[in-house]
Symmetry: C5
Subunit: 323 residues, 5 copies
């Protein structure tokens, strides 16, 4: 689906039209460029776009198929970028991933989006009001999109920080919690984020270094800023992963400690029953000469003895921390 297609000149939107061929023909002055936005295009649409802008077949293939790695490729003067989008689904505490592929030439940008995250329509609206960034031409569009995507990485990471905090509380609560499944799932989410963030670092560093044709020298500080945000996301993810590993270890220790506590509680409880049973056994012996058996209050005495021993043991275990 062609979402939008517009011509930009001197940092402003000039005209929008879905007839790509006509739009490209209107590119006349240096600095003019067309931005075509596609969402999960079918084969015909992408073929038409590839034809109009003369895109390399290998890049087109990558743009159509989702599940690519983030990467930056140069085909002559054209730059091809694949970037993963991430968003956090509150309902099931999960991180979902989509993809944006961008073809950036001297006078055009083609963006191809897959999945629901990081919708580009508002990004385009915001950019159209920011004439300074838009004035950098196709490189400005590239920056705006990457910046938007990376900002959403940071949002996702912030959600994960909250999740790790929750797990932490759960692990160290006195409740009998089984946190290993949750830790596992969160580790998998972190791995998901890492797969989006890490391979993007090298492309962004290259963009920030200024040796990519689409990015004018004046735009490099913007990409350095993105690179910095990306580094922050990566560091936080690594740090969370380390914390989760430690939290898991602590969880294991808690299980062991709890088992030990339980074992001691059980043993103490057993003692409260077993010792009176011994007393009952003693007074159940059949010796002919057992003075207590003849006492009027022998039976209450035995019961009191059992109770006293049980209470005594209970106090003892309570004091020593076994109960």
């Amino acid at each position: 689906m062609i979402v939008d297609c517009a011509l930009y000149r001197d940092g402003s939107r000039v005209q929008g039209d879905h007839d790509l061929q006509a739009m490209r023909a209107r590119v006349q002055q240096p600095g003019d460029f067309v931005w075509v936005g596609l969402y999960e295009p079918d084969d015909e649409e992408i073929a038409q776009v590839a034809d109009v802008f003369d895109l390399h077949p290998l890049a087109v293939e990558d743009a159509v198929q989702a599940h690519q790695r983030p990467k930056l490729e140069r085909f002559g003067d054209m730059v091809f970028l694949v970037i993963k989008t991430l968003w956090y689904v509150d309902a099931d505490d999960a991180v979902e991933t989509g993809e944006i592929a961008m073809f950036v030439g001297e006078d055009f940008v083609v963006s191809v989006r897959h999945g629901q995250g990081t919708e580009l329509h508002t990004a385009r609206d915001a950019l159209e009001t920011d004439h300074q960034v838009l004035g950098h031409g196709p490189g400005g569009v590239l920056y705006a999109v990457i910046d938007r995507v990376v900002d959403e990485y940071l949002d996702v990471v912030d959600e994960l920080v909250v999740d790790v905090d929750e797990i932490e509380s759960s692990v160290f609560s006195t409740d009998r919690t089984n946190d290993s499944a949750r830790i596992y799932v969160l580790k998998r989410e972190l791995a998901e984020v890492r797969r989006a963030v890490l391979p993007l670092r090298e492309p962004v560093v290259r963009l920030a270094s200024g040796d990519v044709p689409a990015v004018p020298e004046s735009a490099t500080p913007f990409f350095r800023d993105v690179s910095d945000h990306l580094a922050r996301a990566a560091e936080t993810v690594d740090s969370l992963d380390g914390l989760l590993s430690s939290a898991f270890d602590a969880h294991l220790a808690q299980i062991s400690v709890q088992q030990n506590d339980d074992m001691r509680k059980i043993s103490a409880g057993a003692a409260l029953v077993v010792v009176p049973t011994l007393i009952a056994g003693i007074y159940g012996m059949n010796f002919r000469h057992m003075p207590e058996l003849g006492w009027t209050y022998g039976y209450p005495f035995a019961l009191v003895l059992m109770a006293a021993v049980a209470v005594g043991l209970w106090v003892l275990f309570k004091k020593s921390g076994w109960l």
Copy 2:
């Protein structure tokens, strides 16, 4: 065994013949080349091929013996590549490995295949219909073979993803599963894949960089694409390995939690027997003055008391989660 031997000119198959000497003699124009395909050749066959194409003895030795590391070697103008093939055997959830060695000269390609995986006959058929790639000459054949092999890596990796998902479900199921053996076996399979994938990355990067004589500049984007697929395979394998380690840890935690649950269940069950035993012991004492013993309904009373205590304990343990 010589599987096939053909002369290619301008991206098309010209002629096929098993007489290597004659075939090579037919190479006349620049761009002509012969592709000889061997399958587990015996000494005589390989000696003949080595003689016709003047192959370096060390490379020939490596091509004959299986169990080499993936590598790319230059011998003057000739390039020698060893690549491992992988395939997944559904029957026993195992990854099997074979090997392809390729000698790529200016006007010839010799491929030597070992093991059952990644059969090259269909690869040759497919290539013969793709005149664009075949037009790149021996480098195009090299690409076609590597691309085919790496695509099968991705297939194998996809199967392993499924296996890891199964283990995940098994670990976190409430069933009493013993997953450590399966995790171990899968880790060994991943190590197998890693041994094929990792050493291949450097050769493919060199091919993509264009400083290998057999690969024309125009063919480098194809190898960059392969390099990207390889990186994806490597990343997925690493990620799976990390997940398996986490899954194993979670499995250990599950075992501990289960042991604790079992211990508490056992203890609660024991209490249901031991406390009535104490009561029976009490009424088995031989005191002369025990009013209950003389009651008409003393015996039923005692039985009801035991049952009541047992039921009471059962409710208590049920409520506290011990049963």
Copy 3:
């Protein structure tokens, strides 16, 4: 809030005034410079400063928002540095973090501080008495601030060394301690410190190498010294983290050993009750011909037998280390 603003010439404070525009105008000779110190400035204040010193908007944005990564950026002749401040709060054994951003131009320094740590007022006072360092100009101020911050890193690290020593004693004490929560928290603090220290290493190395415009060649040994302190902090943090991991492992082992000891103690204790119960059961049997039952001292004999067996077992278990 503008904390202080002063003009420096030849290594001495010349004049202080909060009117930035006027102050900058007074910069006349080469070597003159203005140092403006801000504390958590509001938007208006920072806008005014940015205007007077012509600061890059991206850097200004980073300076206002806290939670940046430590970094060194060049914008033309100006250098922009972000550095994290750390301080140790005794009350809750926690490491807190703040931030200092510095803009260093040829004739000015603007420092922006966030959070309570590493207050710069005393750093300025100290620097104003050290004409040698101040004589290096803006680079000298940069050094003075970084040096102060890094010295406080070392203080924080020293506190953490003490905490690790305490944990060590606790883990290996014979008391029944639950150290996993404390180890976890300390690991999190170390991760906090690492996030401040590690990304700063590369900026300081660049400052020490002398290829940063604000730092004259003669000042590089000072930055090498800072780099060295930073390396020391990083090494100690790594070393503490490794020790904590080992301590955690040892803690797990202690738990297991203790559980084993407890189990054996419990079993030995149980034996002291269960064996006499068997004896009581034997003399509770209803055989007609049991000579002991008719003995005058049969009952005392049975009690003594029980006591003797219990004592005997106690001695046995004591000797074998089970009690």
Copy 4:
């Protein structure tokens, strides 16, 4: 002990003699060289050799003392190589290490061997029949020795692969095996191999790159081949080490699972005794009105009841997998 000393010319052995001085004097044409083979020489022998071939004292010291690290040193035109030898002792499943030091000059090779492994006499015999390799001069000898040593690394690694397979079977067998000691010992053997293999990689890469004076350009493919074998050995060792770690984890899990199984078996067994004891206790109560006590078949009834309960429990536990 001087094992052998011979003059080589044009790839063939010309003459053998133990008088080193005389032998060296016979070196007349370019390409002539002497190969002296020493086995654990005493001080006098090595001093004589050092004198004849003008060896650097530091290298001589290293060659005499065993327990050096593998390394390649250049002293002017001379190359000094230390390489560790490995061999597998079947009797005690252990890897033993020796050492070979080689001095390689323009017209001589001095090899000094320590320990029993990788005896060089047969290597010399084999080399003397391989005129092509021998024709490369001292560099050919160097290759032949390193190749022989590295081939034995691969043999040792193959033995260790077998050992790991055995441990694997043992860990996952249903027998109650205690594999931790064996895993530990094997890990130590692997560390031994790694200490021989890893430091050798850099020297061999340097030899293969052709910037070592003793190695002519034409001989570099041979060293690349050795480098490849070395890489294979290193990868296999790493892979085995990882497998052993996983196997150890699995072993720990097996122990836990077994403990759990045992605990449940014990508990089920206990129930078979405890519940009948309760029944016996009930019929041991002294109530005046207990109809069963008067039944003619009361006693057999009680015994049958006990047996029935025990059998019932046994069936129950069997079904639920506890027995």
Copy 5:
């Protein structure tokens, strides 16, 4: 304290005197140099030395304060080296650390020692008899000191190897040992050694590469030798650390196995008591018709039955390995 101060010429000691100013004045010919040895100097002493040899204040500060990192700094023509000394205290199996700082100029060496280890007096004596090394001038002194220190590293490492061997024996002995504390302490010692060894590698490599002014080209093989020893120390430390981790894991496994063994022993022991108790309970039942009760030998029969059952169980458990 000034320990010694002497003038050296042509590899020999010429004159010793504690008047530094005078000594330095006696340096006349190229190659002459003064070596001043200080032990934990007070402020006045170091100030005097700094004044005579024109030492950089930052280096002087580092030399006075202990607890620096090993490092090599260049201040113009002067080289400043900090190196940690290690020694093993047998009494408490601990590694202690000291420090040596050296200022090496064209015509002087100043060594400043802290702590008890690696006393330099004997090093100076030995050097004064080794005219060859001393002939390399200040660089020779530098070598002699570093070589001495690194040799002591190797001694310390050898002691640690012995400690690890002891722990190994203890872990795998059948005794009930608690090795986790010892393993922990040894890991801490290894970390201590690593902190001395690792940061020294880069300085020594720089010294061996010959781009340090104080070290003449001819002296570089000596530093390569030191570098090699350092690498050996580092490798051994890493290897020991890995072994200790494995040993700790094995220790954990042993604890678990032992707990399992104990649990089974306890259960078997309990069965020997519980089953006879059931028999006693049966003959304690009050049925009117129990033929055994009337037998003359009923009581002995019951006792024998109990004993027989106990013996039977004992044999059974013995056979199945539970006792």
